[in-house]
Symmetry: C2
Subunit: 509 residues, 2 copies
Amino acid sequence: MANVSRRNFFKIGAVGAGMIALGSTAANADTKKVKYDEEYDVVIIGSGFAALSAAITSAEKGNKVVIVEKMGRIGGNSVINGGLLAVVHSPKQKAEGVQDSVELYMKDSMKAGRNINHPELLKVIATRSNDALNLVQKCGAKFYDKLSHLGGHSVPRTYLSANGSGSGIVIPMFNYLKKMPNVTIKRRTKFEEFILDDTGSVVGILAKEKYRFDSKLKDDDRENKTGKEKYYKAKKGVVMASGGFSRDIFYRKQQDPRISDDADSTNQPGATAGALLKAFEVGAVPVHVSWIQFGPWACPDEKGFGAASNFNINATFRYGISVNAKTGKRYMNELADRRTRATAMFKLVNDNKNYPINICDQTAVDNIIPELAEKALKAGVVKKYNTIEDLAAAYGIPLKELKETIKQYNNYVKAGKDPDFGKPVDKADGVQIAKAPFYGTKGVPKLHHTMGGLKINTKAQVISTKTKEPIPGLYAAGEITGGTHGASRLGSCSIPDCLVFGMIAGENI
Amino acid sequence: MANVSRRNFFKIGAVGAGMIALGSTAANADTKKVKYDEEYDVVIIGSGFAALSAAITSAEKGNKVVIVEKMGRIGGNSVINGGLLAVVHSPKQKAEGVQDSVELYMKDSMKAGRNINHPELLKVIATRSNDALNLVQKCGAKFYDKLSHLGGHSVPRTYLSANGSGSGIVIPMFNYLKKMPNVTIKRRTKFEEFILDDTGSVVGILAKEKYRFDSKLKDDDRENKTGKEKYYKAKKGVVMASGGFSRDIFYRKQQDPRISDDADSTNQPGATAGALLKAFEVGAVPVHVSWIQFGPWACPDEKGFGAASNFNINATFRYGISVNAKTGKRYMNELADRRTRATAMFKLVNDNKNYPINICDQTAVDNIIPELAEKALKAGVVKKYNTIEDLAAAYGIPLKELKETIKQYNNYVKAGKDPDFGKPVDKADGVQIAKAPFYGTKGVPKLHHTMGGLKINTKAQVISTKTKEPIPGLYAAGEITGGTHGASRLGSCSIPDCLVFGMIAGENI
């Protein structure tokens, strides 16, 4: 096997089920011939929430586990996101007297997802979200005292990592794993191909070690020739937890040709479609792969997720407003689901070349964890103004109209009802835009989450198009799967998705 | 190879690129070992518009062509559909003085498609639609004298087959092909697997002859064990023209779990996802595979496309109205795009268990080809009433409200503007609902078209996820491809899509 060059491998990789079928006897024989470089019980592709959760759960059962991460650092998008985790029937909901239910979580998710979500998966997430919370707390993750109430959720149910970032969850999980002698963590190691036995079970992978992801390449998956091939045996199973494809310029464009090559994304550069497409080749069912979500809370003055996103999620959208800079008027429900908000914002950004301005006051900022405002101010993406006059002048907003908008909005908060856009202003804790200084930031939607992926069942097993049954030995969790979020996911629903199905994959292998 | 049983074949089919890679030398050797039962230049999978168009074009160049159709009859959905063909800059547009353009066709399609259509493919369809018209007219297809003006189109551009059905196009094409000595047509022959050579080129297929499709099986693709395996060599290429998956109970449900197993479809029972999923296994790019279209003009009183669909498309929606049976009021723009209309109708059907009633008068019927009304009346799905009173009584519509609705609608037609729903009433040729007898029919949306599929380029070549270049030897056309229609296609845009890309596949092989 050693003489199968990368180039030949790729060519042969292009050979599909037909030719293979013809080579069946030979292929079967070859299965036995594979010389594995390393042997594990469980091979996990990726190192974000889903991967770490699967690793902890399966390693605690005594399995020998390897985590395979192509990038130089652990944590994928999980370590740079907002650290928001929706939990149903959580201790904080009890403490705050919030009435919630599995059914309400499902209903909120289905509404945002345009009702094409797979309900059996949603139910699992909601039911086991508390177990996921326990898992990360056991690892040492800390959370902000107060629940967040995010757009599209009927009730506050969102835990916010104490440092306002996913790193506050990933790092404790990673440190927990590092202490386990039966867990190996490989960075700069890229999943290349599945190895299957003659019954079609996944029994290992081909990986490339010393892989140097090159973000200067337009298409790393296809152009990067670095790394050294290694065969890893997976005695019990392979878990695909490699995330979404928001940074795959070619593949995302097939789903929406409007997404330009340089369109900004909140994701890390390794978020490509390579692993997903390999799974389709072994017959995984594609689900919802054309749905791509833009995060409506990003800022055009910085790259990626940045510092403004968390400020908007927690401060301006809940306790403030977003206005059209040209008119000074609101144009959307600031707490609507992401798809609705991104569509409304794109209308301004694309049609009118006009970035909306997100605004809140000091009371709003006093209500959130201080780090979020500090980071955003330091980055220069959120700015502080002593008066509304100053803020309006800075962004060129017509002052009279803006003042009128704020006055009207404050009345809506008082009345507990927003007749213009239906924002659930009762969730703003009575905070009006009144106390100086005032905060402003430009808004833009950025590519954030790819809803579609592999079909899994409630045991995190990947389903085959050929049998409609699980592909033996193949599991998946997190953003690489499809169905849980439907057409558009709610904020803070990805982390429980990742953690719960990672945990379940670990439990079932 | 003869001793590779179906069962083993299937198992091996589940083996993916990894294992194959390992068996590379053996697999290459096996390529040469394949004993082909038959040899052709071009193998075409399917026998609808796209397949027949590809067959004619490639056979006229002197190629030896085989058409592989799994069903007992030729024509797939093409032979049972509405026979509507949108053409830009057509002779009839010239005769009727209609100003049209490639850009306008693209704009209309993009609007209906939610702007995710692939513009380069749309442009090809519009530009070459006249060539497609010429092709079928050369075969002897006849069309109704007058252009139809369908929902979502800015101008009349739709040719209607003289017998009001796709059969009026398919049968002449089929008869034309039967006269060509270099064309073989195989019915009850099912595409099973691709054969690829050691460079990854598609060089043939494995088929099953004497296949007996069994519509009593819930899942024919996976459960049917009939047929005898045969290997066909394709010296120049394979064209995938096997259509969409509206009747694939498993696969369509993955994309929208709301679609019940017994949900009715306008499609023939062979419209499954089998061939599409095989193409994903050899690395074809999935595009828009979660978008499924419901035809808003079907009738719950008959199965499938039936006789009411064409009546509604041509008569009631253009020259009449659709009303909520409980209120007697209109609830939508009867000429909106299909997705918009289906959504509005589902709201009535699902939420209120209330089939909408589509209504027109005798003038409307005088304006359409007589066969359409005759067929629908004979089938009992459209009914004739001497008075509005009789019609209202038959469907339990509140009479006073219905009369008021009709009066108002007639005023809108007179004024040339519908302020309620924005129907382009100027396209109704001034026809008011006034002349007895009156016609009524119950409406329901049925599964009609699956927008997504394989990514092709403007040469009808199937694009590979591995190289972003064409998979050598593999072409596709029609409903199995994705991208042309975006999220929702306009009526009469599928036939030009099928004919044009079938023709182009034939030209390029």
